[in-house]
């Protein structure tokens, strides 16, 4: 993977809100096909970095370069923690996935094909017309993933999508992401608090703490010493299971 093209490059990047920096001097390179886990304590700047990737936070200094072709906005997709739709609002699986096509400017026929294909990818092929609210939490999260995949992204960003999911649903989601990353070559950025999953699935990791980021291969970054320094507490053996 080291020879792959750079998709995202941060050079001495400073990010913050209202003049108050959250992240300083961030340097990292994300190459096509890599599977990154972003870990670190709450408020360490993981989500701020993700927001910057989508242009929602402007760098105060430094540069955040995203490949203008492979990483174009149309090729970037985002999966939130959970669906923020009000549960009293009527919506179907089809409508939710179709909303992922906004801004792509594709025709009705291709849109239909993409929706079916994305749902099949996440194992919900026959649920197109189902009421979104009759699905389980794990299935809804897979619909959110299909909404991202329908864009046929080169860069897939997930912000703690395991929140609220039980163990089995989380495992299914992670297995699915492995397939998407390995078989389809989708560069994946997964923001998570689950250190054990990070060690099992990530090729690379970014450890956010104290306003800085340590980056590198997952095995080199997700060590007990580094994690304990970042979190300020003893990291349990379960995190290394």
């Amino acid at each position: 993977m080291t020879g792959a093209e750079v998709l995202v490059r941060a050079t001495d990047l400073v990010l913050g809100y209202a003049g108050v920096p959250v992240l300083r001097n961030v340097r990292l390179e994300i190459r096509a096909g890599e599977y990154w886990f972003f870990v670190g304590p709450n408020g360490a700047g993981k989500s701020t970095f993700v927001r910057a990737l989508f242009g929602l936070v402007t760098p105060s200094a430094g540069e955040l370069w995203i490949d203008p072709v492979r990483g174009a906005r149309q090729r970037r997709a985002f999966v939130p923690q959970r669906s923020v739709v009000d549960p009293s609002v009527p919506t179907t699986v089809r409508e939710q996935v179709a909303l992922g096509l906004v801004g792509l400017g594709i025709g009705r026929k291709e849109a239909g094909e993409r929706i079916v294909q994305a749902l099949e990818q996440v194992g919900l092929g026959g649920r197109l017309g189902d009421d979104f609210w009759t699905l389980s939490g794990g299935q809804r999260q897979r619909v959110m993933l299909a909404r991202a995949l329908v864009r046929r992204p080169t860069l897939l960003v997930l912000d703690e999508p395991e929140t609220g999911l039980d163990f089995a649903a989380e495992e299914r989601l992670l297995a699915l992401l492995d397939v998407i990353n390995r078989n389809h070559g989708v560069t994946t950025l997964y923001v998570s608090h689950d250190l054990a999953s990070a060690r099992r699935h990530a090729t690379h990791a970014a450890l956010f703490h104290g306003g800085t980021v340590e980056v590198g291969p997952a095995a080199a970054i997700l060590t007990r010493v580094r994690l304990e320094r970042a979190y300020g507490v003893a990291v349990s053996a379960a995190a290394f299971a």
Partner: protein, 302 residues
């Protein structure tokens, strides 16, 4: 009943057409309000518009403006009412959750509009009559210009909705995702606030508070119970609003009742029926699901 309604057409056709245009326009825009669960927003914007009209009457009646030919004009009142409604809508849209919730701003706009409109015109018998007329809702005085403006606004809103249905639904349902895919959510919010404010401002001056607020929220609430997608609500809600407005005007004409209240009463009954239908539908579906689950279970587990 129908024949009597047809007979009343030459006398009241402008009022009917204006009422139906308002029904189509506000029922469509109401999907935005209902999807965002901002029901009270409509009431607040309505009261802001009433305050605007009160200000226009108060200022227009001052001796300093005695020579101003158009200051006391009906359309000057509509314009100022519309501007106040837009300002109220924008104030609510601009609320930042960290500092103040949209509900708090909405409540403030509603109460400010309600009390200052009355206080401003407390010593003006004509002004108070106008405010009471607006609050009571009467559509009989609508004219051809009102019909043209309201129908034009509906056509504009319908075309915009048809062109931008998907980004609109994404902004309404998941603004964070909308931002992530490049939709300018702040611009959308401002545009929606201006559209809602302007439509409510004009509709209230033509038809009053009860009719406008009722048409804004009730058809969308009915379709929320019956539709499966927000996309369906966008075309079903105006149809429900129009059907209720036609039925309400026919009933009001037959029974000699106030048309605005008749339409809103029909919509209230429809919403109650939709709630019951939805509840029954959910129960039947649940039973069907239970039945299919039981049927699929192996005999030793039944």
């Amino acid at each position: 009943m129908i024949a009597e309604f047809v007979a009343s057409w030459p006398l009241f056709h402008d009022a009917y057409l204006a009422g139906w245009s308002i029904a189509l326009l506000l029922a469509l825009l109401g999907v935005v309000v209902v999807t965002r669960d901002q029901i009270f927003f409509g009431a607040a914007v309505a009261q802001a518009s009433v305050l605007g009209i009160a200000v226009a009457i108060y200022v227009g009646g001052s001796p300093a403006l005695a020579r101003c030919a158009w200051c006391g004009d009906d359309w000057a009142h509509t314009l100022v009412g519309g501007l106040f409604a837009v300002a109220g809508a924008l104030a609510t849209a601009a609320a930042q959750p960290r500092r103040e919730t949209p509900e708090a701003i909405t409540g403030w706009v509603f109460l400010t509009g309600s009390c200052f409109a009355v206080l401003l015109l407390a010593h003006s018998p004509h002004g108070m009559d106008e405010i009471n007329r607006l609050l009571a809702s009467t559509i009989i005085g609508a004219g051809a210009v009102d019909v043209a403006v309201l129908a034009g606004l509906f056509m504009l809103a319908a075309v915009a909705t048809a062109l931008w249905s998907a980004p609109l639904r994404l902004v309404l349902m998941d603004p964070e995702m909308a931002s992530a895919v490049g939709v300018r959510v702040a611009v959308w919010n401002r545009a929606l606030a201006i559209g809602l404010g302007a439509a409510m401002g004009i509709a209230i001056h033509v038809s009053g508070v009860v009719f406008s607020f009722g048409l804004l929220v009730l058809p969308a609430l009915v379709t929320k119970q019956l539709c499966r997608e927000v996309g369906q609500m966008l075309w079903a809600s105006p149809l429900v609003g129009l059907a209720a407005a036609i039925a309400g005007f026919v009933v009001a004409n037959d029974r000699d009742l106030p048309p605005g209240q008749a339409v809103v009463a029909i919509l209230c009954a429809l919403l109650a029926a939709a709630w019951v239908a939805r509840r029954l539908g959910d129960r039947l579906q649940l039973r069907a699901r239970l039945r299919s689950t039981i049927c699929r279970m192996p005999p030793w587990r039944r």
